[in-house]
């Protein structure tokens, strides 16, 4: 498969549902940020020690869910093309909650503000957390602009919950990464 098509050279691209849109449209901004988020999360996985294969698998499963939610963001709500998309339910958000609880159980209680940093994997998880928050903001902006008074679709509601929960997961993951490296949190001294 060729990587370049030349069909996006004039500042437009095609949505999965066929519409030609500007590359600066809110929909493109949203799934572009989702793509960035997925890339940073890949870097978190790459920075883990080889012994952390279980955590790597968990992170890769999240990357798959991000790709699947990206496909929804790249499709106009209600378009016929959505029949090719995998339904995005509330389950991935529920899975994140379980993972958060599981990591939290092994962490010391949080009694102070933490500074983003520490081990490389933890630092990358903090970057991923901030990109995730931005992605969530873009997705909300898209919903507010394009869905108007009709409100978001059920799928979009699930994606918004997933993104919100994912930034919590990434915060806890950052702490967990420092913890398993024996470094602990980088505390704010203020």
């Amino acid at each position: 498969m060729k990587i370049y098509t030349g069909t996006g050279d004039r500042g437009k691209t095609s949505l999965f549902s066929g519409e030609r849109v500007s590359k600066s449209s809110p929909r493109l901004e949203a799934y572009g940020d989702l793509d960035e988020l997925n890339s940073v999360i890949g870097a978190v996985a790459a920075a883990l020690d080889p012994g952390q294969s279980g955590l790597k698998d968990e992170i890769q499963a999240i990357q798959v869910q991000l790709l699947e939610s990206g496909a929804w963001l790249a499709t106009t709500p209600g378009a016929e093309s959505t029949r090719f998309l995998k339904p995005f339910t509330i389950d991935p958000a529920d899975t994140l909650e379980s993972a958060i609880d599981s990591m939290n159980a092994s962490l010391p209680e949080l009694k102070h503000f933490v500074l983003p940093g520490g081990h490389l994997s933890a630092s990358l998880a903090h970057i991923a957390r901030t990109v995730c928050r931005r992605t969530e903001r873009r997705a909300i902006e898209l919903v507010e602009r394009e869905d108007g008074e009709s409100g978001p679709t059920e799928t979009m509601k699930h994606i918004l919950v997933f993104l919100n929960r994912l930034s919590d997961y990434l915060f806890v993951l950052a702490r967990f990464c420092n913890h398993i490296q024996g470094q602990g949190d980088v505390q704010w001294g203020g």
């Binding site: 060729k2 098509t5 016929e80």
Partner: protein, 218 residues
Amino acid sequence: MHRFSASLVDRHWLAPSILELRLTRPEGLAFIPGQFLRFLMDGYERDYTMVSTPDAETVDFCIAMVDGGRFSSDIRNAGIDATFQLTGPHGHFVFQCPANPAVFVATGTGVAPFVAFCRSGVDTGLLLHGVGTPDRLLYRDVLQSALPDYVPCISRPFERRGHPDNAFAGRVTHFLAQRLKLGTYDFYLCGRGAMIRDVTALIDERFVDSRLFIETYD
């Protein structure tokens, strides 16, 4: 996605260097016209769109033979009843509920998904089939009888006698630039990357707010 085996039932020339391959219909295969199957060959894979309908007894493909091509050679040498391993169905290039008048644009064997559309009941829209010479116009009868507007676009000089009156002398891009009324359409493009790129540029320039569905053969 599923994995299937299918045996060769028939193989015949549709045009110079273009074969139609007919395989037994794998049990359990369900697909939407326009989708393709992947041939798992010895050490390589090839994707081909079915020209047959989902309810046909065989699955049929039109395949351009390439000099020195591995698949071309394997297909030529395969005996009747030879078994192929396939996966699929793959792809999303299917006829959508129309939002605008449909314009189908194909070059060469890129006409395959449109043959499947027409055989499955699509009976509205303009089809441009770009070929170098008239003897490479595939499935003309199927396309012409299904669609009200079927225009072969023949890029090399040709003798008009014996060919459709409406044949256009020139490339599909020339037809779109010179003959298609400005407006908003649902474009379906299937063919080589250069055609896709050039037609997309025209769409962005002349047919703003159109929808665009693409299947690239490269």
